[in-house]
Amino acid sequence: MEAYLFYILAVVTVIGTVMAITEQHPVHAIVYLVTSFFSLAMIFFLLSAPLIAMFEVIIYAGAVMVLFMFVIMMLDLGRPSEASRPFLRRWALPMLLGGIILVSIVTVAVNHISSPDTSRMISINDFSVVLFRKYGVAIEIISMQLLFAVVGALYLGRKRDDR
Amino acid sequence: MQILKDIYALLIGMWTTWKHIFRRPVTIQYPEEKRQPYPRYRARIVLTRDPEGGERCVACQLCSAACPVDCITMQPAEGEGGRRYAAWFRINFSRCIFCGLCAEACPTLAIQMTPDYELCTRDIMDLLYEKEDLLINGCGKDPVYNFYHHAGIAVTQPRGSGGEELSPVDVRGLMP
């Protein structure tokens, strides 16, 4: 049952992502991308990582994409169908990178045919112990970066009285 | 502290609405309960008669001229003895705004406002009131007034026999 669900969700994810790339209308592309995030979150859930699944939805679908949409709705993009597709020359580098990723995925998939280990549920406790003990320094660095970003935003958004 | 004051103000508002929840509603359930309008309420217009039973309206067109929405039309006619009346008299209640200017303009108290406000039909043509719909068998708000008893040319009674009238002066006589 889980395997069937996984394949269905995987197909939805791939189709959603492909449509998000090829769709010319930005809002439609966002909707496709959100669909793909959703099925990705469900896949994480099937892989016994409910925390990651929820973060996927909260952060990517709920925050990042909403901000994208906010910006797109504020900007009047006019007729999107006139946007031309990139030349073959510009396709070369992305296709190379994508090919590398594809090859690595295939290699991993060939070597590990076993289904995911669903017997051991990764609890929130395990997750946070690893996150804050093992990768504590990284978390601190990232939070410092976020703090700088907040301070920078406050500086940019301050009220200017010296006009 | 400003914030405490603000919270206090909010709570006062909440308390006011809370009290109003238990107050008796002021709604009148219209088709079942009807409110009694005051006698001077301005609604459906009628044409009244004088105490003797004659029509008060003399078709002078003053109401028609006063009407701001031009909803009154009539055709003057003259009866036996020179007494004027309206051959037909029409008020279009779909245009009438019940301002009461016609009743104020009427020199003979013929056109009067009544408190009957239930003027509602499915067909707009039903709101076109003809003379027979307007004319009532009564004097309206003044039960004794008769125009011809106070003034008027010798139509219903000889000159000088009205209420406040003096007898006509003989302009050729030399007597004071």
């Binding site: 973060f55 939805v57 | 508002g13 609405t17």
Partner: protein, 330 residues
């Protein structure tokens, strides 16, 4: 993994029950709102359909179903049709993680009165409420109307801002209960409700959920004085009804969550747990209606200032204070 047919039947039964109860309650909440608002304004409210107007929701339903369902020229067809569902479905899905009664024991089967006892229940709530933004945003954008677009932009900004303070105000609850599982949070309040420890978090949460379900001091996305009807201006018939009912489902669900997080869920003396839970939910619903009858609408900059400069910093300070308290307590 094997499934017991009785368990599946029970889960389906619970889902059906929740759907039935919530949709009926939402329809009657519309009626209750009209009634209470009428009382506040010294009126009688709907009283024509059935005794005391109790059949009014049915009449509304028939009216909405038989109205023409039209689509404006230039509207984005699929998104326009999809948006009302995207607004209503996440709201009702949140209820799946709320425990609405003490576990029942029937024939040696323990039935938790909760559709899904997820160990990330609280996060599921945050995730689904962030998804509900899409209904507002896409509905307004797809309508191809300036009022709807303005309403949806306002809705987007407001929901993002207040989601932050809502999420942050729940962190102390998680710290106290040491779990994201809603049944654990309820169990941790069997002695003392969290509102006693966390009155500030409760206030922040209450204000944030009022903004989340776009209730009156924060109803800028549908401000009828300025934007006709905001993001659902162009909707008619049952699609408008879905937006409308979704809002009331949101009130019920968020009221249930507030009861679960701060008022001890189904805990309470004397009366059975389900009664306690529904009483708390209805009390929150009444509070929202009462506030709607009292307060005026905020201005847009006041809304943003209040969210970002008051509620969010307060919630952060509250988290810090709770953390210190827990560390000192050991």
């Amino acid at each position: 993994m094997s499934y017991d047919p009785i368990d599946i039947a029970l889960i389906l039964g619970k889902i059906g029950l929740v759907f039935f109860v919530i949709l009926t309650l939402a329809a009657y909440l519309v009626f209750a709102e009209r009634k209470v608002l009428a009382w506040i304004q010294d009126r009688k409210g709907p009283n024509r359909v059935g005794p005391f107007g109790l059949l009014q929701p049915l009449a509304d339903l028939v009216k909405l179903l038989t109205k023409e369902d039209f689509r404006p020229v230039g509207a984005d067809k699929w998104l326009f049709y999809l948006a009302p569902a995207m607004a209503a479905i996440p709201a009702i899905m949140i209820f799946s993680v709320i425990p609405f009664g003490a576990p029942l024991t029937l024939f040696s089967h323990t039935i938790p009165l909760q559709v899904a006892d997820l160990n990330v229940g609280l996060l599921l709530f945050l995730a689904l409420s962030s998804i509900a933004v899409y209904g507002v945003a896409l509905g307004g954008w797809a309508s191809n109307s300036k009022y709807a677009l303005l309403g949806s932009i306002r809705g987007l900004a407001q929901l993002i801002s207040y989601e932050l303070s809502m999420g942050l105000s729940l962190v102390p609850v998680v710290m106290l209960a040491r779990s994201f599982r809603l049944s654990d949070i309820v169990a941790a309040q069997s002695g003392c409700w969290f509102i006693v420890y966390q009155p500030l978090a409760f206030l922040i949460f209450l204000i944030s959920i009022a903004a989340e379900c776009k209730r009156i001091p924060f109803d800028l996305p549908e401000a009828e004085g300025e934007l006709v009807a905001g993001f659902h201006t162009e909707y008619s018939g049952m699609r408008f009804g879905l937006f409308f009912v979704g809002e009331y489902i949101n009130i019920i669900v968020l009221g249930g969550l507030a009861a679960t997080f701060f008022l001890g869920g189904w805990h309470g003396p004397l009366l059975p747990p389900v009664v306690w839970f529904s009483g708390k939910v209805l009390a929150f619903a009444f509070l929202f209606i009462w506030v709607r009858g009292t307060l005026p609408r905020l201005r847009y900059d006041q809304l943003m200032h209040f969210g970002w400069k008051v509620l969010t910093p307060l919630a952060l300070v509250n988290i810090l204070a709770t953390g210190w308290f827990l560390v000192l307590k050991g």
